[in-house]
């Protein structure tokens, strides 16, 4: 849609914002440290999983095998 590098940049930025800014805007409380850890780890895990998924599709070595009926249908609907 908008090119691979821009997509990677946007999604990385979003998760970096969540993981980088989230811990600082938390309300004060006895468990603040735990919640901060949770937010950072969530951002890291979610970003990592997305990144692996994205990278594995970046350069497809082969294409999907479809039945001709499915191809017609997809060409028509999508």
């Amino acid at each position: 849609m908008i090119g691979a590098w821009i997509t990677i940049g946007i999604v990385t930025l979003i998760w970096a914002l969540i993981g980088g800014v989230g811990p600082f805007i938390l309300p004060k409380g006895p468990n603040r440290g735990v919640y901060q850890t949770m937010i950072v780890l969530t951002a890291v895990c979610c970003w990592l999983h997305w990144f692996i998924t994205y990278m594995s599709q970046l350069n497809p070595l082969m294409g999907p095998t479809l039945t001709r009926g499915e191809i017609y249908l997809m060409g028509w609907v999508w």
Partner: protein
């Protein structure tokens, strides 16, 4: 850092409590629940301790209360629960409580015995009433049978039966009447017949109303019987048989007038008895309802007193100074609160001498105390189930809060299944007040309830990974628009007409977004978030997902293991164990990075650089890794090379990895040995002596404060262990081998992420195509009906197999990955849990002392 990252700092403190203030002080500490007392008389038998009598008295009181509670349960009177928590009453009130319970128990017992006696009496009278009524009918029957003049005109058969020769049959014929349990009647009849050789005549009639056994309270059915016989010999025999069958015999007069009189007497007595019984019952109810008001409070009070005396039994008694000496572990930050509680206790008891708290130095490992709340305790429980952390060791629990649900979700990724799990956990969380107040009975449910926040997070992360896998009940959602354009294939391929399958070719112009224009320098422009939905219907879906999920598992495994090593770094730094840091930790990290880290870098490199145009010459990473250790030179010609200068880089990496092994193995033992040798000193019974092998002189370098009784008594085992080179070496060899092997085996173990996630998605797809799909593809009215029925089958199987069974298996695998693969990098787990003396645990009956 926060409280959950490391356990609380603890200290050992000594308390000097005046004997008269000790009770109140311990009571205050019990309310506070922050001190764990140590047993200072471990050698003293439980029966020889100082406050055994008091504990026994409390036991007795508890027994009485339990008796009253049982009586309350018997009468189904609800126990009032006001929710208030009374403090332990001072010891002088114990006598009052004892007297009160004694009185109540005696009263209750008296009422019970009276009631039982009355009921027995009542039962007997009722039985007599029935006997009179039934026998009346027997006699009347007989009279009818004999006609109007029974004395003179005897029928032949009756004569035969009762009396052959006498002319006055009724005068000689004796009879007994009684009541017997209904189920015993046939046996009774048979025995009578056999024992009396058929010379008795038994009539019986069932009593319609059921009786209550006054002793056991069971309902029983009974029978009235009457036996006619002749002669004293038979009479004794009949009576013995009746006795044997536990039949109750009642006097029954012969003439109808007498019987009527007795019957009238019995009726009036029954009525009187009924009123007395009712009054007794009312009295019992009144006593019990008063008991029900206070019994909960009494229970709490007695349990608290008992717990206090139990604790006092752990103390050392100093007879000369009339004080009790206690030792307890407590969190350092709570010392002020403990001291406040002690002062309050001393004031309450009216003692003039203050209680003293004093910190002690010890080398003993303190207990591990992690302060948790309702959210974190479920996660802490997962860690504690493996092993309690050493004192002040890095606690994996705060990291597990996210990594555990995440690894679970990697294996369980499906939006639909995640949503169901999330909703279930959300219900538990929202209704937690209801379930916290009333403990759920079902054990499995209780377990799930304790882990409600864990399940909630597992559900949320499963939805996220399901979105990445693009699976919702195994169906895909096309949110952003597929990167594959089938129409481009359509236009360019005229052979599309006909049947069969076709593989889209990304080399063709326009088929894959962003290609092939920027090749070879640029990349494609794939589906932005998650797996492209087109793969859902692709025939070669598995081979693509296989490669993706396997690499995913390896990368995640490596990162979690590195994370574990980072936590190990914090442990070493906290313990100031620089020897372990430089001689173990650094080579460990390098070794792991050389082996698995390099593989992961290659994975990303291959994804980024290799594309359709040069995919024909793409090398296999796994074979490349094996070749790397066999020093086989990768070449472009053999399609084994990924990048230029690969051979040189790989040889360097392998050499570094191999060098790490002796680094891990030898440096630490050698340094320890040298350190020990050059110090040249040994300790003898706490006195350090410089030993010079060339001369006989020894010099005392320093010595423990042997004259200080306190340190001497507390630290009896603090003598330095003797340095044993072979032991150190063996330990190091084992650990080195274990670590090196674990780098491979643990990475392989993370492949379970790949296997389980693939299995889950395949299973849910099978369920969809085999069950739901067949329901949806049926036609007509029948199809509508079918799809309704099949939907419920599909829903049941989804919940039963995919959510419960698959969820459980993914949970266990995530648990194992955390316990073994992650925690083995940094977690020792050889500590012991801080179990403070706290009333809140004792009163609920959770701690049974």
């Amino acid at each position: 850092m926060g409280s959950l990252f490391r356990s609380e700092e603890m200290c050992l403190a000594q308390l000097y409590l005046q004997s008269e203030a000790a009770f109140a002080c311990v009571s205050e500490l019990g309310e506070l629940g922050l001190a764990q007392f140590r047993d200072l008389n471990p050698n003293v038998n439980a029966f020889q301790r100082k406050f055994v009598n008091e504990v026994r008295r409390c036991d007795e009181m508890e027994r009485k209360l339990r008796f009253l509670e049982r009586e309350l349960k018997k009468d189904k009177i609800p126990i009032r629960d006001t929710g208030d928590d009374p403090v332990a009453p001072p010891p002088r009130e114990m006598i009052g409580l004892e007297a009160k319970f004694e009185k109540l128990e005696n009263e209750m017992k008296e009422v019970n015995t009276n009631q039982e006696a009355l009921k027995r009496n009542f039962l007997e009278l009722t039985e007599l009433k029935h006997i009179l009524r039934k026998t009346q009918s027997f006699f009347e029957e007989a009279a009818m049978y004999h006609g109007n003049q029974p004395e003179t005109n005897q029928p032949e058969e009756e004569n035969l039966l009762v009396n052959d020769y006498a002319k006055t049959p009724y005068t000689k014929l004796g009879f007994v009447a009684g009541v017997i349990l209904r189920e015993k009647v046939p046996a009774f009849e048979r025995v009578l017949w056999r024992a009396c050789r058929g010379n008795v005549f038994l009539r019986h009639a069932e009593i319609e109303t059921t009786f209550e056994d006054p002793h056991t309270g069971d309902t029983v059915n009974k029978c009235v019987f009457i036996i006619f016989f002749q002669g004293d010999q038979l009479k004794t025999r009949v009576k013995k048989i009746c006795e044997g069958f536990r039949a109750t015999l009642y006097p029954c007069p012969e003439t109808p007038q007498e019987r009527r009189e007795i019957a009238i007497g019995v009726m009036t007595r029954i009525e009187d008895l009924q009123t007395v019984l009712n009054q007794t019952e009312d009295h019992r109810k009144i006593v019990l309802s008063q008991v029900a008001l206070d019994i909960r409070v009494w229970f709490i009070k007695v349990r608290k007193i008992k717990a206090i005396y139990h604790t006092l039994n752990l103390f050392n008694v100093n007879i000369a100074e009339k004080c009790l000496i206690a030792e307890c572990w407590c969190p350092v930050v709570e010392i002020d609160r403990i001291q406040l509680a002690l002062r309050k206790g001393t004031e309450l008891s009216g003692s003039s001498v203050p209680s003293i708290m004093q910190r002690m130095n010890t080398k003993e490992a303190p207990p591990t105390y992690n302060r948790t709340d309702k959210f974190t305790q479920g996660f802490q429980a997962i860690i504690d189930a493996f092993g309690i952390a050493n004192y002040r060791e890095v606690n994996p629990a705060p990291f597990t809060i996210i990594t555990f649900p995440f690894l679970f979700a990697v294996m369980f990724g499906d939006i639909g299944h995640g949503l169901l799990m999330f909703l279930f956990a959300l219900y538990l969380v929202l209704s937690e007040k209801k379930y916290l107040a009333k403990k759920p009975e079902n054990e499995i449910f209780e377990m799930m309830f304790d882990g409600r926040y864990l399940i909630l997070l597992m559900g949320i992360f499963s939805m996220y990974t399901g979105f990445l896998y693009n699976e919702c009940f195994s169906r895909s959602i096309n949110v952003f628009g597929s990167a594959w354009n089938v129409n481009a294939m359509n236009d360019s391929n005229t052979t599309l007409q006909g049947s069969g399958t076709l593989t889209l070719d990304p080399k063709t112009y326009g088929v894959f977004r962003g290609t092939p224009l920027p090749y070879p320098n640029g990349t494609g422009d794939p589906y932005p978030y998650g797996i492209d939905p087109i793969w859902q219907s692709a025939g070669n879906k598995i081979s693509v997902q296989n490669s993706y999920k396997m690499k995913n598992a390896v990368i995640m495994g490596l990162l979690q293991m590195i994370f574990g090593l980072v936590l190990a770094f914090y442990n070493h730094r906290y313990n100031k164990d620089y020897l372990a840091l430089f001689c173990e930790w650094i080579p460990q990290l390098i070794f792991l990075m050389c082996l698995i880290g390099y593989l992961c870098i290659l994975i990303f490199y291959k994804w980024a650089v290799w594309n359709v145009l040069n995919s024909n010459s793409a090398p296999s990473l796994l074979i490349g890794l094996i070749n790397m250790f066999m020093f086989t030179k990768p070449t472009w010609a053999k399609k084994t090379q990924l990048y230029s200068n690969q051979n040189e880089v790989q040889i360097t990496i392998v050499i570094i990895a191999i060098l790490c092994v002796p680094w891990m193995l030898l440096t630490k033992p050698i340094i320890l040995y040298l350190r020990n040798k050059f110090q040249g000193t040994t300790r003898y019974a706490g006195v350090r002596v410089a030993v010079d092998e060339t001369s006989d002189d020894v010099a005392i370098l320093d010595h423990d404060h042997l004259d200080d009784p306190e340190t001497a008594s507390i630290t009896p085992k603090d003598e330095e262990e003797k340095f044993d080179m072979s032991e150190v070496l063996i330990y190091q060899v084992i650990h080195t081998i274990e670590y090196c092997l674990s780098c491979i085996s643990h990475t392989a173990s993370y492949l379970r992420l790949w296997a389980l996630s693939l299995a889950h998605s395949e299973l849910s797809e099978v369920l969809w195509t085999m069950v739901m799909h067949s329901g949806l593809s049926a036609k007509g009215i029948l199809g509508a009906f079918m799809s309704f029925v099949i939907f419920w089958g599909f829903a049941g199987l989804t919940v039963g197999i995919l959510l419960v069974m698959e969820g459980l298996s993914a949970f266990l695998h995530a648990l194992r990955l955390h316990w073994v693969e992650f925690q083995s990098k940094f977690y020792k787990g050889e500590g012991y849990l801080f179990t403070p003396f706290s009333f809140s645990l004792i009163v609920e009956g959770r701690v049974d002392e």
